[in-house]
């Protein structure tokens, strides 16, 4: 029942030179033999395992496409089943024709995530790995790809195992005193238990902190560029995009709508929005733009506030300074190539020096510093740790970590209250179980449904 043969188009649909169709299951090779005729021999099976074979796909003696095909024998495959991959021409028509043909010959269209589901169910991937495959497929930047790939290698699972082992050690040291009360063994002390728990707490915290980075790497950092009209917001956006997209003029209020762009700064995906300038206005269209700017502004992870060095500070500027004071902000003082009118004393009074960048965007001055600052803000002081700790991007993992963290805090509180060991252990067991949910070692009733409902088609 589990290993009927499934098939799916594995490459993104759209115009492309090559597309790949993948088939997995016990009939995969038989079906391929039925539709594929190699140039030099009779059947695909006449070639070696994992050998790329040139030939044609036939539907009743009619050639459908010219392809390369390869078969991979179980169990050393992604799903641990027999797999056939057909590399055909890209584009919707040949891909769909071949897909239909394979289905006519006995394959079934794969459900979303079914290949990965099989890899997971065959024990080829653990839960964390299987989930990261899905992140891998939908990764928006190379960095996001790295994150998922780390997990595919099992680094998160490894980290979780390490922590679970440490918990087992604590429990064992508690148990020995309970089960052998009359033996000549020193009871473990509250301090010792607390030290272990603190160490676990810190490890979980590191992972949680990295998970925020992970979320950014997966979903993108919501970034908003704000400032009065005509301070150079659109120029900044264009410079970051390195192409003219927004209309740039010298007339204040030219950008009347909100433009959202996805860009990639040193591996970090930014969802960047150039807002209409925030100012009081009577122009209705502009007013709508201003309202939407405020909306984006409120949701932003990062705010880039642009000031014009060649102007004096106005009330509008001060209003914005007030709005951003508790937010994650970088302040760009633009147009430093022009005569300076801005009063730096006032600026320094309101804004921390370390988030100020000076530059002239039209001349590309200060752009590198700005990009570095963004990277620094995303990784913070964690940048060193990234190489040691896996970055977590999956919401289920983050939730489990947060639950584990909460239980750790409870356990520490129990220790501080000098509760009897048997009570502390209730908390400790919960930490153990929540961590196990990440790697799938703790078996949950509905975990399978939860996960596979989220998997997408293909891999």
């Amino acid at each position: 029942m589990l290993n009927d043969t499934i098939v799916a188009i594995s490459t993104a649909l759209g115009e492309s030179a090559i597309g790949i169709i993948r088939m997995s299951g016990e009939d995969a090779i038989r079906i391929a033999n039925d539709v594929f005729r190699p140039k030099s021999k009779e059947k695909l099976m006449d070639f070696r395992n994992k050998e790329l074979v040139y030939g044609h796909i036939y539907n009743d003696n009619k050639i459908i496409d010219e392809v390369f095909a390869v078969y991979m024998k179980a169990p050393f495959t992604y799903t641990r089943e027999d797999i056939v991959e057909i590399n055909c021409h890209g584009g919707i028509i040949p891909l769909n024709q071949i897909l239909k043909l394979l289905m006519k010959n006995g394959a079934r269209m794969a459900e979303p995530g079914e290949f990965t589901k099989r890899a997971f169910l065959s024990g080829r991937l653990d839960l964390a790995q299987a989930e990261s495959v899905m992140d891998l497929i939908s990764a928006k930047t190379p960095k996001g790809f790295d994150v998922a790939f780390n997990q595919l290698e099992g680094r998160l699972s490894l980290k979780v195992k390490e922590m679970r082992n440490e918990i087992v050690t604590i429990m064992a040291s508690i148990e020995v005193g309970i089960d052998y009360p009359e033996e000549d063994i020193e009871d473990v002390t509250f301090d010792e238990i607390k030290n272990h728990l603190e160490s676990i707490k810190n490890k979980i915290l590191d992972l949680i902190n990295n998970s925020q980075t992970g979320k950014v790497l997966r979903d993108g950092l919501n970034t908003v560029i704000v400032g009065k009209p005509n301070v150079g917001k659109s120029s900044l956006m264009n410079a970051l995009l390195r192409e003219a997209r927004a209309i740039v003029t010298d007339i204040p209020g030219t950008t009347r709508d909100v433009i959202e762009e996805h860009i990639n700064i040193k591996g970090i995906p930014l969802k960047i929005v150039d807002t209409a300038g925030i100012r009081d206005t009577d122009d209705i269209i502009e007013k709508m733009g201003v309202e939407r700017s405020k909306d984006y502004f409120n949701r932003a992870d990062l705010i880039i506030f642009v000031l014009n060095a060649a102007e004096e500070l106005t009330k509008d500027d001060i209003d914005i300074i007030d709005l951003i004071k508790d937010r994650n902000t970088i302040v760009l003082i633009n147009k430093t190539d022009l005569p300076q009118l801005i009063d730096m004393d006032v600026i320094n009074k309101y804004i921390r020096n370390d988030i100020i960048i000076r530059g002239a965007i039209t001349l590309e001055h200060g752009l590198d510093q700005l990009e570095d600052k963004i990277v620094e803000m995303v990784y913070g002081d964690k940048i060193k740790k990234i190489n040691e700790n896996p970055i977590i991007s999956n919401v289920r993992h983050i939730n489990a970590l947060e639950m584990a963290y909460e239980q750790t805090m409870d356990a520490i509180k129990s220790v501080e209250n000098k509760m009897p060991y048997d009570f502390i252990e209730v908390d400790i067991k919960n930490i153990y179980d929540y961590l196990g949910e990440i790697s799938g070692e703790t078996i949950e009733e509905d975990v399978i449904k939860k996960i596979f409902s989220n998997f997408c088609l293909g891999k």
């Binding site: 589990l2 839960l127 000549d184 009897p420 179980d433 449904k449």
Partner: protein
């Protein structure tokens, strides 16, 4: 048919092979539930014999005794009648791990139990060696004895302890023997093998017994019992006895030297013993060999009874030759002039692989045959008794065509014990420990009656008196909780007490309930200000206090139990052919086919079945469910 030609010596509902701690509980439970029961022992003087330590209870084991008692078993009552010292262990730790242990007068334990058996209706006690279990077409028919008699039985409970193929080792001396010099049962194993039951060889041991008159107690440390004895049985009101002392002493480097020089003479080290011994109960030579850096090991001297001078040397089990045993004992403070009465020995015996059993303790492949106790690979009197009780109950349930009693891991230590044995199996004699229980905050020894007595009563085992006592306890708990909620104590009365106990003073008043929530306050130290307190049973105060103080933890544990139950309630059809589920790894397919777990939960505890295998199973079951509901 050969069997038809044999003269029948009688027809019984339940036949119990062995009258040790497992057999005794099995036979008593069966007879009390109304089944005509016969119990065989090689020697009736060894009924409920304690061939090793002279004590009942201990960590985890004390819980088992309480549970046996709550269901209507005999062990708790019998130790209450025969104890000579009693102690609640782990008192400095939390209530979940408090464990009772009592020193028993061995003779009295035996004679009291024998008296109860002799006076139980429906129960017959017979001295004979059982040589064959008669099985035809996978259905048990009865047993044969060495004298050629055939006893017909609807069900048979195997409780053969360490008698099967028993072999004793003392240094180089090896001889066929049961425990304590009794005759072994050398023929029954063959009968089991003929019926395709897989047999293993385990080993255990016991230390020497020494003469009390040759011990210098002045060089040892006295070990007292509790001043206020808490009985094992929920039926026992009070135990008022003059308690005996136990004694503590230590080995030293010269003891260790003697043992090290002679270690090659130990049967354990000479390679003569093939059986697997318990790691948690190592011989002294094993301890010295494995923990070479420890310069001393402790030993306890415990009386074997009131009418004897024999003393048990706990911690000193060994299979060294007699003369070496005497030599190393003499190096221990207080034992310089010791006279040995019985040498320590190791014993090897046949037992079955418990993976062949259902959770009801019936063989999966042999209808009507049950097995309990050391013959299942466990160790200890209490573990044996717990299994005996369940096997006896389920033998009767089988005859009555009723559902077997299966306690799960969240209901009882007995459930943990049996689930561990029949699901995980064991590579060494299995001992109960509190750490084996995941939900021990709920499975306390103080609430065993609340957990189990109703079940025992419904089975027709626990008496009406037990139920009455339970209902009384529960009623007064409810009343008392009510009272605590409503009793407000004014500041002027309570603050002086609080100050004395280093507890924060209150403003105008506080309820007793809130006061009891404070870790530093309890029933005892609040007695003086709680003037309206009614006469309360100790158990009632304890239950209320636990509920009040630890409510947060208890609800956390209950949440854990809910998660556990969700998986236990995902039943697996018994006709699944696991070898046909392709996602499963080969080892898992084999294990699952062997064990045929009842639920996903049980399957997840089988060693060799990984979480990934469980995911496969869950998906398989879900698909099956969907397919079926489409039909």
């Amino acid at each position: 048919m050969v069997k038809k030609m044999i003269r029948s010596a009688g027809k019984f509902d339940v036949i119990v092979i062995g009258a040790g701690h497992a057999g005794v509980e099995a036979a008593l439970a069966a007879a009390r539930m109304g089944a005509k029961t016969i119990m065989f022992s090689i020697n009736l003087d060894s009924v409920a014999m304690m061939p090793c330590n002279p004590s009942i209870g201990g960590t985890g084991k004390g819980h088992l005794v309480r549970e046996i008692d709550a269901l209507g078993g005999e062990m708790g009552l019998n130790i209450d009648r025969s104890m000579i010292q009693c102690k609640m262990l782990n008192k400095t730790k939390g209530p979940a791990v408090h464990s009772l242990r009592a020193q028993a007068d061995k003779n009295k334990y035996h004679s009291e139990m024998k008296r109860v058996i002799e006076n139980t209706d429906n129960l017959f006690l017979r001295q004979a060696e059982v040589t064959d279990i008669v099985i035809e077409n996978k259905q048990v028919l009865g047993i044969k004895t060495s004298t050629g008699s055939f006893f017909e039985g609807k069900t048979v409970v195997l409780a053969s302890g360490t008698y099967l193929g028993g072999k004793v080792f003392i240094g180089n001396s090896v001889f066929s023997s049961g425990p304590n010099g009794l005759a072994p049962a050398n023929k029954l194993t063959e009968s089991l093998l003929e019926n395709e039951i897989s047999i293993r060889r385990f080993k255990t041991g016991t230390p020497a017994r020494i003469n009390k008159r040759t011990i210098n107690f002045e060089k040892m440390i006295e070990q007292y019992g509790d001043s206020d004895i808490e009985p094992f049985s929920f039926l026992t009101e009070k135990i008022d006895i003059e308690q005996e002392l136990c004694w503590l002493s230590y080995t030293n480097t010269s003891t260790h030297n003697i043992i090290n020089q002679n270690i090659h003479l130990s049967a354990m080290f000479s390679g003569n013993i093939e059986g697997v011994g318990p790691r948690y109960c190592p011989s002294i030579e094993d301890k010295i060999y494995r923990f070479a850096d420890k310069d001393r090991h402790q030993l306890f001297i415990e009386p074997e009874g009131l009418d004897t001078n024999e003393m048990y040397v706990q911690g000193m089990s060994t299979s060294l030759p007699e003369e070496i045993q005497i030599e190393f004992m003499k190096s221990i403070p207080g034992l310089e002039d010791v006279e040995m009465m019985r040498p320590a020995y190791a014993i090897e015996y046949d037992c079955i692989d418990p993976l062949q059993l259902n959770l009801s303790l019936e063989f999966k492949d042999i209808n009507g045959l049950f097995s309990a106790g050391q013959s299942n690979g466990s160790s200890g009197y209490e573990e044996a008794a717990a299994q005996g009780l369940i096997a006896g109950i389920n033998a009767v349930q089988k005859i009555k065509n009723e559902e077997p009693l299966i306690l799960d891991r969240s209901e009882a230590y007995i459930g943990v014990l049996i689930d561990d044995l029949v699901t995980k199996g064991t590579d060494e004699p299995y001992r109960m420990m509190t750490s084996r229980s995941e939900y021990r905050l709920i499975l306390r020894q103080d609430n065993a009656d609340i957990r189990l007595t109703r079940k025992g009563f419904a089975l027709g085992l626990a008496s009406a008196l037990r139920l009455e006592k339970l209902e009384e306890k529960e009623k007064s708990m409810v009343l008392e909780m009510e009272r605590l909620k409503e009793t407000k104590i004014r500041a002027e009365f309570i603050n002086p007490v609080l100050e004395k106990l280093n507890s924060t003073v209150v403003k105008d008043s506080m309820t007793m309930l809130d006061l009891l929530k404070r870790p530093e306050l309890n029933y005892e130290n609040l007695a003086a200000i709680d003037i309206d307190r009614p006469e309360l049973n100790r158990d009632v105060m304890k239950e209320c206090e636990i509920q009040i103080k630890y409510t947060g933890y208890i609800s956390k544990q209950l949440a854990q139990i809910n998660k556990f139950k969700a998986l236990e309630n995902k039943y697996l059809p018994q006709n699944i052919d696991y070898s046909q589920i392709d996602g499963l790894r080969l080892e898992a397919r084999q294990k699952l086919n062997d064990i045929k777990p009842l639920s996903i939960g049980q399957a997840s505890r089988i060693s060799g079945v990984s979480p990934a295998d469980i995911s496969v199973l869950m998906v398989y079951i879900e698909q099956m469910r969907r397919t079926n509901s489409n039909v």
